[in-house]
Assembly symmetry: C2
Homo-oligomer: 113 residues x 2
DNA sequence: AATTATACATCTGTTTCTTATGTATTAGCA
DNA sequence: TGCTAATACATAAGAAACAGATGTATAATT
């Protein structure tokens, strides 16, 4: 099963922050592979969504970059700024809370007794 | 805490389907109140999002309506069509699965061992 | 030699929602 | 009684976020 795209919307930034909380630095392509691997192909980060988001987060001062050459090919590593670490904790716990609320909502009997 | 809006995006249809799976019929305003109540004000369905979505789902053949007059005021009740019941089961279990995957992703150690 | 994987990037369009606005009835309160 | 809040519907303009396509280029595999 691959989730319908609208479901994944809104979680991308938090996923990036989570990855970079656990890893000192990662590059874009690596993120797509890690998420794919961790979710058994259920979540695939598309490049058209990922790269603009990474750029935006860098512009916000949440992420910082360092480019390295691997042979002749550039690889752009991202890591959290201090601001990004704070933001990361916030967004991750917000998502955890949201997941619980949604789980309750889906599991609960929503009819009036 | 009220969740940042982007997090709730994509879950609206499934929430509607869940409510109407548990209740034979509901009207729009009632849905906003029930969700608000069930989530302790954490999720507020806005009318600008809700009504167009209800109309779209009716046009898709997922929902059917019956209007009633309460005094002089019209109240529009929504209920699931047979197609809607099938769709509802699908979307609800997809969301449940997604929540588990995200919970795992947030909880897991995403770094390489 | 050709294909696949790696690795970056941008752009157009679509979907989905937010915010604002509008209309009207009913209930509660001062 | 007059005012405000709640009930209940609706639409419309714009923003946000993403999908899908396309582009470039190097490296690895078959």
């Amino acid at each position: 099963m691959i989730y319908s795209s609208e479901l994944i919307k809104g979680t991308l930034k938090t996923i990036i922050l989570k990855l970079l909380r656990d890893n000192p630095r990662m590059y874009g392509y690596e993120m797509t592979q890690r998420v794919k691997e961790l979710t058994g192909d259920k979540i695939q980060l598309t490049e058209g969504a990922l790269y603009p988001t990474l750029h935006a987060m860098e512009a916000e001062g949440i992420l910082q970059t360092e480019s390295e050459y691997i042979g002749k090919r550039v690889r752009k590593y991202y890591s959290l700024t201090p601001k990004g670490k704070t933001k990361g904790e916030e967004k991750i716990s917000e998502l955890a809370d949201f997941l619980e609320t949604m789980k309750f909502l889906i599991g609960a009997q929503t009819s009036i007794s």
